[in-house]
């Protein structure tokens, strides 16, 4: 990744979108919109001092919204380019309020609130579409209650929870527990403030609030305006502190998630959504289960699926090793429903096709192996490029020319063409590079020279 940023032959246009494509193989005219970052790329050193000082907290999209970032941010710590970006939807200054803290902090003078989108014209001989995929939105499957149950997450969200660079620093804290902890933190702040207010009264009257309040409730000081205020503030304080203490007590019992369920084919091999198999999700779940077990050796995982498609190099061996060493149980069956259980524990209702009976089981967390969905932007992009999509909106290719699209000079690789795993994407990427290189190196002479 770093090599891309450094390579003299690569002109990296991040935070940019394709506007328009004209022309044909050997001579495409492409218009690219470079969105304003409000930070000047040639001045920003990526040091990150600005985001330390930025007062506006924003949900972190890189962490699937589970962590926080600032309104001025880098997409992720090692991101290339390291240039920071201001999110105009959150930035106080750009929203017309007073701020500009980042600009004052930046000693390189890189922040520029006046920056505008720029339009770049490129002329290229060939185009490679590597637009990727979207994670299927599992809230479309109401019976899995993804949007209702906090501890039902997608595989990619789980990936961030496992990651040492993720929002939990790699601790397998359940989202429901994290939500309560966040609430505790917020309440503690509030309690701290109200504590200060009543402390002033205590000092003023030389009496502990609790003592005062019990006499106040007995009807004393009814006419004392100041003391009435005190009573009111103290009551407010209690309303914060009491639930806070209860929550704190509850939080003491929080442990890392230990009983995990992985549900395969969420949106894939499902006629309501995508009838195809997404290919990589079986291995993804197995890998996540193995890593979760590495985090906590008492972790147990159950993988619910129809077939476990361990079809890559070393995959079957990995699957078996997971079963033998990482407490993974493979259950053949489709999950019918996920229900709410006690303590925010999701309950999985499934048919065990081997034992031919409906069962239910409670877990600490459920991970949904979501389908590889065609990326939303692909319709518009395919339209601009003039290439055909297949029945599921992946870029159309043929098995005998796997990276050629319907339009000469435009190639596709990776999950934009069909779901596939990393090594296949990498291999295809090289294939597409080869096809494009044939144009780059031969250009007009190509038609006579190329055979088959």
């Amino acid at each position: 990744m770093l090599d891309v940023g450094r390579h003299p032959n690569i002109d990296l246009l991040a935070y940019s979108e394709i506007e328009k494509v004209e022309g044909e193989e050997g001579n495409f005219k492409v218009t690219v919109r470079r969105k304003a970052r409000y930070v000047e790329e040639d001045k920003c050193t990526g040091c990150g001092a600005c985001k330390e000082k930025c007062p506006t907290v924003v949900p972190d999209a890189f962490n699937e919204g589970m962590g926080e970032r600032k309104a001025i941010y880098s997409w992720f710590a090692q991101g290339i380019p390291s240039t920071h970006t201001i999110d105009p939807n959150y930035c106080r200054q750009l929203q017309g309020k007073k701020c500009g803290v980042c600009a004052k902090t930046c000693q390189a003078g890189a922040v520029n609130f006046e920056q505008k989108d720029r339009v770049v014209e490129l002329t290229v001989g060939a185009i490679i579409v590597a637009a990727g995929y979207d994670v299927f939105d599992p809230s479309r499957i109401p019976e899995y209650r993804y949007d209702k149950l906090a501890n039902v997450v997608t595989a990619i969200e789980f990936e961030r929870l496992l990651s040492a660079s993720g929002p939990t620093g790699g601790h397998l804290d359940r989202p429901s527990d994290r939500a309560i902890e966040a609430e505790i933190e917020a309440l503690e702040k509030k309690a701290g403030k109200s504590q200060k207010v009543i402390a002033k009264f205590e000092e003023q009257f030389g009496q502990a609030s609790a003592d005062f309040y019990s006499s106040f409730q007995k009807g004393e000081y009814k006419d004392d305006e100041e003391r009435n205020k005190w009573a009111e503030k103290y009551k407010e304080h209690l309303e914060i502190v009491e639930p806070l203490e209860a929550m704190k007590k509850k939080a003491e019992g929080f442990t890392a998630a230990k009983r995990l369920a992985f549900i395969q084919c969420v949106g894939s091999r499902d006629f309501r959504f995508y009838p195809f198999c997404s290919g990589y999700c079986c291995m993804h779940s197995i890998k996540e289960a193995i890593i979760a077990h590495e985090h906590g050796p008492e972790t147990t995982s159950t993988i619910f699926g129809m077939d476990i498609r361990a079809i890559g190099k070393g995959f079957e061996e990995y699957k078996i090793r997971g079963g033998n060493h990482s407490n993974i149980t493979y259950v053949r069956g489709r999950v019918a429903e996920i229900q709410a259980g006690p303590d925010n524990n999701p309950v999985v209702i499934y048919e065990d096709t081997k034992e031919r009976m409906v069962k239910s089981e409670e877990f600490d967390m459920v991970i949904l192996a979501t389908a590889c969905a065609p990326t939303k932007g692909i319709y518009e992009l395919a339209d601009k490029l003039g290439i055909e999509l297949d029945a599921y909106d992946f870029v159309k290719t043929s098995p005998l020319s796997p990276v050629d699209t319907s339009r000469p000079g435009i190639f596709v690789c990776g999950c934009a063409g069909a779901p596939m795993d990393v090594p296949e994407s990498v291999a295809q990427a090289s294939s597409a590079a080869e096809r494009a290189a044939e144009i780059a190196f031969y250009g007009d002479a190509r038609k006579e020279k190329a055979v088959a």
Partner: protein, 55 residues
Amino acid sequence: MSKDILVIGGGIAGIQSSLDLADMGVKVHLVEKLPSIGGKMAQLDKTFPTNDCAI
């Protein structure tokens, strides 16, 4: 006629295509929608644990 290549998407596939072509001596324009390249793979915990190690 142009010998430059446009790559759309800065995930693992786009990165690999770009590097192959650039290493061949071809000028590549790599367009990514998000502020940084890396794509889905950068979000993975293991497999891509070593951003500097990998590519």
